[in-house]
Point group: C2
């Protein structure tokens, strides 16, 4: 090694030792007769000292060193008179006897500090400098810890990691595939996997019993905020299990990660059906760090002559505790906020339950004090609370009310970072009707099993069929989802039929899986976790990009290496393709 120690390990025990450190010039200060350099590496920062009295030439050389120069420096560990107890190496410094510039550095385009002056685009272009910032280093260290803890936990539970292929077959169901032209088979393509779904099912059929993989997946989607074209899953599957077994097993994983990574003991995760989640939170991924549940008011709100309520499919409200003093201006601003297209509410009704037990509302014209009191009682409100009510079509109104609930949670500081509230959501609908395509789509994917008791409904009322599917939600973020799978050829065929596949199409795309079902497929199920997102939740960042070493931007570009990019004429020719429009 070019060093004897790292910049993070020396302390008073080492005083008097000869050491050689390597690292980057983090900061340099001239103080009268002394020059101090903070030398930084992955492990910490150590102060180097140059004394003009004892070695003028060396000190003059040291003064020429710029930020981010790479040094090897030799000297003797000494106790500092001016100790910095905030860092582990802050009680010592190194009296430098000689040093070597291993590589100089141009002045970096932004400061290498937690609070940097570099904008996102500049930092992405120089991502290798951005990653020198402690905050980013810690993010990737957390990700490493998450992955190694995940692997060791699953290994201890008898899971084996099996790599599934990256060059697979394009299938039209689901999101758009990335495809890879085959040079050796003109006109034919591989596809990159959106998930190893069919392969992990085949591994169950092969008898592997407990499989996992931390694996890259790919979706050629138009990027929304916080999506990446390539992302990482913790992909898992088990045989001879019920839903309960899977929830318990992976609750075990999640609790292990909470303990190992966050040092948190988290109690048993609550469970909620999709139907409950939608009714009580207006969302299939509720943030249960705070209450403020949706409360349905149809029976109390209708028939009082207020058309907005009378004509609505759903009248629903939330109670913002202690907000009765909100001003007209605040209420107007919130009303405008819920009317933004993203939330899409038609309006916002309020009822103020004053600290003095007075009641004031925007519907006083239609609702008597008795009527309003009944509503207040439905919420179990206390004096000082503020109720918000919306009305309209059920789905749309729940959606908007969920938005408002989360916004109020933010404004009232109820969504505390550092607090973690995991939740299992179960009993998802199996199918979603798509008006445009005039057919059902699988809410999860076509291999999800219906609840056994709902199977007869596939023939009579497919939209009502519930899936044996589940999501893990933490703080309102979907961290993972899975299901018990279909393991029976006939049921899988019926499922494809419901999804509008012809028999030929189904056979062509998924024949290998349906054939495999005929050779002794065990009952099985599994789950996949969004690893980037889980890291982000645990680390507390704004974006999954903060937890990816080399992310792409929202246009799907890597601006550091400048890709995607053109390829040579020869490559086009070899691949037997040409541009659609030259």
């Amino acid at each position: 090694m070019l060093r004897t120690q790292t910049c993070g390990e020396l302390n008073l025990q080492h005083v008097g030792q000869n050491v050689t450190l390597c690292g980057w010039v983090n900061r340099s200060r001239d103080m009268g007769g002394m020059t101090f350099i903070d030398l930084r590496d992955r492990y910490g920062i150590t102060q180097l000292v140059f004394n003009i009295t004892s070695n003028a030439a060396l000190c003059m050389e040291a003064r020429k060193l710029g930020r981010e120069f790479v040094l090897s420096a030799k000297g003797i560990v000494a106790e500092r008179s001016n100790k910095n107890l905030k860092i582990p190496t802050g009680e010592i410094e190194i009296n430098i006897e000689s040093f070597e510039i291993l590589n100089p550095s141009k002045i970096p385009p932004f400061t290498i500090e937690d609070e940097t002056d570099g904008g996102e685009e500049l930092r992405m272009k120089y991502r290798y400098l951005d990653l020198r910032r402690t905050v980013n280093k810690k993010n990737l260290e957390l990700r490493h810890k998450m992955s190694i803890e995940t692997r060791n936990y699953l290994n201890s539970q008898g899971f084996i990691e099996i790599e599934t292929p990256v060059l697979i077959k394009s299938t039209p169901e689901g999101a758009r595939d990335f495809v890879v032209p085959s040079r050796m088979n003109p006109g034919q393509f591989y596809a990159l996997p959106q998930s190893p779904q069919t392969f992990k099912q085949l591994l169950m059929i092969a008898g592997f019993d407990r499989y996992f993989q931390i694996v890259k997946c790919f979706r050629d989607e138009d990027l929304r905020a916080d999506r990446q074209l390539e992302f990482t899953q913790i992909d898992c599957e088990m045989s001879f299990v019920t839903r309960e077994d899977i929830l318990n097993t992976f609750e075990g994983l999640a609790r292990h990660l909470f303990k190992a990574v966050k040092n948190l003991d988290v109690p048993t995760f609550p469970r909620m059906t999709y139907q409950e989640a939608m009714a009580e939170y207006g969302s299939d991924k509720p943030d249960i760090r705070f209450g403020m549940k949706l409360t349905e008011l149809n029976d109390l709100a209708k028939g009082k002559g207020f058309r907005v309520f009378d004509e609505a499919e759903l009248v629903v409200g939330i109670c913002a505790e202690g907000c009765s003093e909100y001003t007209r201006k605040q209420l107007d601003e919130l009303t405008e906020w819920v009317k933004r297209p993203q939330t899409g509410a038609a309006g916002l009704i309020y009822i103020k339950y004053g600290k003095d037990s007075s009641i004031k509302s925007s519907i006083d014209k239609f609702f008597s004090p008795v009527d309003l009191t009944a509503i207040i009682q439905r919420f179990n409100s206390k004096p000082g609370d503020l109720l918000f009510i919306m009305a309209g079509p059920k789905e749309k109104t729940r959606f908007a009310m969920n938005d408002l609930r989360l916004e109020m949670g933010n404004r009232l500081g109820l969504r505390k970072s550092g607090e973690f509230k995991p939740l299992w959501v179960t009993h998802f609908p199996l199918l979603e009707w798509n008006d445009e395509a005039r057919r059902f789509y699988a809410m999860h994917h076509p291999f999800t099993s219906p609840l056994p008791e709902d199977i007869p409904l596939l023939d009579t009322d497919p939209g009502a069929v519930r899936a044996n599917a589940y999501d893990l939600v933490i703080n309102g973020v979907e961290i993972g989802g899975g299901s018990i799978r279909i393991h029976n050829k006939e049921l899988q065929q019926k499922m494809f039929k419901v999804l509008g596949f012809t028999d030929e199409n189904a056979q062509d795309q998924f024949g290998f899986l349906m054939n495999a079902f005929e050779y002794g497929a065990p009952p099985h199920g599994g789950i996949a976790f969004g690893f980037d997102r889980w890291c982000t939740i645990f680390g507390g960042g704004d974006s999954i990009r903060d937890y990816i070493a080399f992310p792409k931007n929202n246009a799907g570009r890597d601006v550091m290496i400048d890709t995607p990019a053109g390829i040579s004429d020869e490559q086009w020719k070899e691949l037997n393709i040409k541009p659609l429009k030259p």
Copy 2:
């Protein structure tokens, strides 16, 4: 769980317990009043017993069960009268009280046994059945163990695993890239990485100090035996290191894997320069499980009037111990063998040193007994040995002699399976001259550092420059290779120039890396191991395919899912491409 235990864990301690097992019907036998079924799962095989006297109906049902049916069976553990001590569950059996067919099975197209009757093509098509065979299950279990041991060892040494992107940029240096058309950027492509080389170097520049990743890599090569389009690397990089540090660190990894996976204590790995390896073995990846070194004979062989020797650049031989009794027929057959195009020798000379100390050779006409004795002494041969000699151009002759040496090693049983002889080969040439392209190519890749003392030769004699590069060889198979990298922009630019890049090309392809060198790049180096191959060496298989769950065949096809395959017209259109020839 649908079971109370697995098929691998019951023994005499469980006698009398009520259990439920799930698994596959491995074998079924009717013996008079009894029916025995071997139920198989990932963990083992347990015998189920049905007694026609105690439950005739159940026994008749059991007799209908076919091979590979999936069962859940309930019963009581009983001691076997006819014990099978070869398996852990062989002392007990289960008296079955009821069972359920979880899934029937068609008759599998080949037997699910270690020695199967299925040909390779059939087994690949039904890979999910092939993987049920114990031999394949064990291979993937070994692979899992290798990967988890690798990760934990490197983690314990301070390495952090960082995922690098899969959608990167195509570069013309090296093998052919797979490319991925970008829908959002017409005419532009991503490329799949041949290795994370530039990214791991950027991670060193970012200060991560010790990186690793077990990662899929891709090469669009015409497939030779035992290559896959996608393969897995253990990719590693370190900063502030010399070659010695890297060899010691990864010798540590290799020794850990030998111990953890093979329970072998392997002594310090010997080291050999490329030049020594070529001279003594005719190969840069010698199998040192046996001697039979190449011995050069130019001084003894030339000038005796034998034109073949006199005109040859190199006369070289090996000594096959104890083979002096080889018959004319055997020698002729070996001569034909070395003349096959794969080996390409012009011919084969022999000298028999008989057990009675007689000397007989195919060059008696030119060489006196004294001449022949001198040659025999050069080899330190003993009576009973047989010498083989070849002559011709140095490189070609060494190549052929290496082939013969390995073949003789095989024939004489000197390449023992179960014996492992690792070796570091160092001091590789930096460059290889390519006659066709009339330019130098990087032997390793363009980022490999020359040995410091050879840098001046880059200007005067590039072909003579040695690289600061190294390979790990086990039993004649290259398991990994790496180098100290260039970390200086000027040297990297010079390297690209030697490789025939224009400045513009170099900047266009690798500008991001050379720019990064200007911002404080530390000295660094690393290594990458072929993970599939390492598993194959440790597991002892014939082909890396045996250690890949879903391999592709030699034509790059996955015959199970039938890919590559066509894509829809809509996909072509969205990707802004069309076929070169419609």
